[in-house]
């Protein structure tokens, strides 16, 4: 059983907020955001191959990677890490190659909850409501693929 994702897409302001708890220490969660060999194991939608050009999770660093879909279609993402504070906080920009120049700001807060548990809080700021809705919509393709995979697993009685 996985922890629930609290997602809020407020009306009238171009934000997306989310909150997710982990049954692991904050240092582990932070590390999984920092090390490229861990990032490739979870950041992409399932069924997508992730190729990192570079991923330098530190203040002033930058990143660029490619998600390749099941039919071979590439999706490019890039951005800059504005602020990174170990086990605490990060601000990064995020740009999808399919929507050039529509850049969002991602705030991430890593919280220690004690007893080896932690919480990740995300706050995304888009340049406009249209950008938020258009950009988030572009993630739908991966979501659809994943949705069907999960349905397959569910039907075959596998653990989701």
């Amino acid at each position: 059983m996985s922890n629930p994702l609290k997602l809020s897409v407020p009306e009238g302001v171009p934000f997306i907020d989310y909150e997710r708890e982990f049954e692991f220490p904050v240092s582990d969660v932070f590390r999984a955001h920092k090390e490229p060999d861990l990032i490739v194991q979870w950041l992409g939608p399932r069924g997508y191959k992730m190729d990192i050009d570079h991923y330098d999770f530190r203040t002033g660093g930058s990143y660029s990677y490619l998600h390749t879909g099941p039919e071979g279609q590439p999706y490019e993402f890039k951005g800059i890490f504005h602020t990174v504070r170990e086990n605490e906080f990060a601000i990064q920009t995020f740009e999808f190659g399919g929507y050039p120049d529509v850049v969002s700001l991602e705030f991430m807060t890593f919280e220690d909850l004690g007893n080896g548990r932690s919480r990740l809080k995300g706050h995304s700021v888009y340049p406009s409501l249209e950008a938020r809705d258009g950009m988030a919509q572009s993630g739908m393709e991966g979501g659809m693929t994943e949705g069907y995979e999960r349905l397959d697993e569910l039907l075959s009685g596998a653990k989701v």
């Binding site: 582990d28 969660v29 739908m140 979501g143």
Partner: protein, 119 residues
């Protein structure tokens, strides 16, 4: 953005106005006439009519032609199209974090084995 997004764009534009959102909220409880819809607002019936026209153009509401009252109806299919992307976004995020869970799980398991086996 593809041309497929144009109807979605006009729907989001239509919903950017608080009066029009209130009208949608009222219509979710059932059809209403322009007079009934104008009642809670301190604006003219003409202004409310204009708002309804915008909603109509965005296909968020429909008006029946037959009756004298011409009540305004909500178009639920259009509203569902608006919220579909939020559900998809949620699916992608949830999948991502479950992936992160299993990465953390396998690392913790590997660490546990190392502690038990100090070779």
């Amino acid at each position: 953005m593809s041309s497929d997004d144009a109807p979605l764009d006009s729907a989001f534009m239509a919903l950017a106005d608080p009066v029009r959102r209130s009208i949608i909220a009222r219509l979710s409880r059932g059809p209403a006439t322009v007079n009934e819809l104008a009642e809670p607002f301190a604006i003219t019936k003409q202004a409310v009519s204009k708002h309804i026209q915008v909603l109509e153009q965005a296909q968020l509401v429909t008006r029946t032609r037959d009756a004298q009252r011409r009540p305004v109806h909500l178009n639920p299919a259009r509203l569902e199209a608006l919220t579909a992307w939020i559900d998809q976004y949620r699916l992608v995020r949830e999948g991502q974090f479950r992936g992160l869970d299993s990465v953390l799980q396998s690392r913790a398991a590997a660490r546990g084995r190392q502690e038990k086996d100090p070779s």
